[in-house]
Amino acid sequence: MIHQQKSQRKIVVQSLLVVVLMFGFGFALVPMYNVFCDVFGINGKTGIEATAMAEPTVVDEERWINVEFVTTLNQSMPWHFKPTVKKIRVHPGQTTTVDFLAENLSESEMVGQAIPSVSPGWAANYFKKTECFCFNHQPLAAGESKEMGVRFFIDPDIPSKVTTLTLSYTFFDVTEKAKAKSNKKDELVKVATN
């Protein structure tokens, strides 16, 4: 009897442990997925942080790669947003800057966040950005327009079958979120100064 009660508790505790672990695993899927995406270039994800790789000194002048730029405004955000050039040709390893023009057409200040995505997805890892407007929130006052640049190079290791890379930017309206965040920050500052 006593022996059985004990082993029963053991089973319950072990099962609960599995439950807790698997709940954690559900959340662990998030960073795991991001690692997977980084390694395999799933979903054309390209970082919203500057690449750690140093700008290459060697330019592969034998090869040309077409780089196209497309833009989308999520939920018809009342902005105007277009690249200044639609398409350029670059050598792998060559560092280039391309400007995008954004204009806030609404009558209030808005904050946008651009999300980059590369096609073909698996080649995203070879697309290296050293500077990008997508690394930060982009606030624009009512009616304000701004040229925003992205500085990038293509990793010279890119497989030779790639001839065209498409870089897509989608602007999302994050005005509310940015406001909430800065309010919180203000409060924290207040608390700290008090």
């Binding site: 497309v70 999520n74 018809s76 590369v118 989608t170």
Partner: protein
Amino acid sequence: MSVIKQCLVSHTLLLITMLVAPFSVLAEESKFNMPRGVTEISEEVYDIHMLVFYICCVIGIAVFAVMFYSLLKHRKSVGAVPSQFHDNTAVEIIWTLVPTLILVLIAVPATKTLLKIEVDREADMSIKVTGWQWKWQYEYLDEDISFFSNLSEASNQARQRASGIDPSTVENYLLDVDNPVVIPVNTRVRFLVTSADVIHSWWVPALGWKQDAIPGFINTAWTEVKEPGIYRGQCAELCGKDHGYMPVVLEAKSQADYAEWVKEQQRKQEEAMLASGRDWSMDELMSRGEKIYTANCAACHQANGEGIGMFPALKGSPVATQGSVEEHTKLVLNGLNAMPAFGAQLNDADIAAIVTYERNAWGNDVGDMIQPSAVKALR
């Protein structure tokens, strides 16, 4: 009642046909089966589909034949005496190995085709496809062409609840749009698929694939259509209320016709520019407004302007009857909460027409109107 009876009779016949129809008939008749399509990929996909289908039929028939033989012969009522065997290693090994071999047989062509679908080769032209609640936007990257593709007006009227219009009288009911996407034949076309709100899925069965449109991300798919024609499909991923009402219509034209079409589009865009410059009469704005309203606004605010659920009524609303026409226009241009901004989707004349219509339809009688040039100034 007699109609239903008639229907029942004809459908019972259909049911019988369905059950006894030889498989070769299934393969030919598109009402029963996947279309073979008009691209190399779609044909390969179809062949794999048929191969796996036939394999499944053979397996199914073999298993059921053994089982039904047993059901007939090994029943107590015919005096069967149960044997007591419960194991047979040889048989068990065979029926593990044979399915494995069959799977390999399927995997070989499937792998080949899949690699072909996903290959990234230089395309001759690119079209960006953006899914919206509930329409598609097409942007031709190499030409200056960009347009929205909405459910056609005839379908849109007939599909309203209790519209009184018999769908069978509407040509291509729910599979027709105002502006189809046009591509040339025998040209490798790349589609860059994305979304501006929720996930959609762009699907034309004749091309042999569907591709999800995911907000913030871009997906690539390509096609090379062999024969000119009009190919119809639908959004395949649940994307909200009007998911069933955003068809995809793809028109493949000969190279020459395509070039002609491109010119036509450019001419139309110039016309629209001109139209925005001139002054419009009230009647013009009202009649155009009704059309544009039906295509863009009626899904939420309803054709009668009375709104539904969380979507407010426009009939008698303060914005449309009391506020200034400028405020009203800005709201349409920039959106509010759940309402999208239409500034990027519609040109000045369209916005002017919608606002004028909303202020003067369904018993709203403000009497004022706004000119396209004034809309332009508000942008």
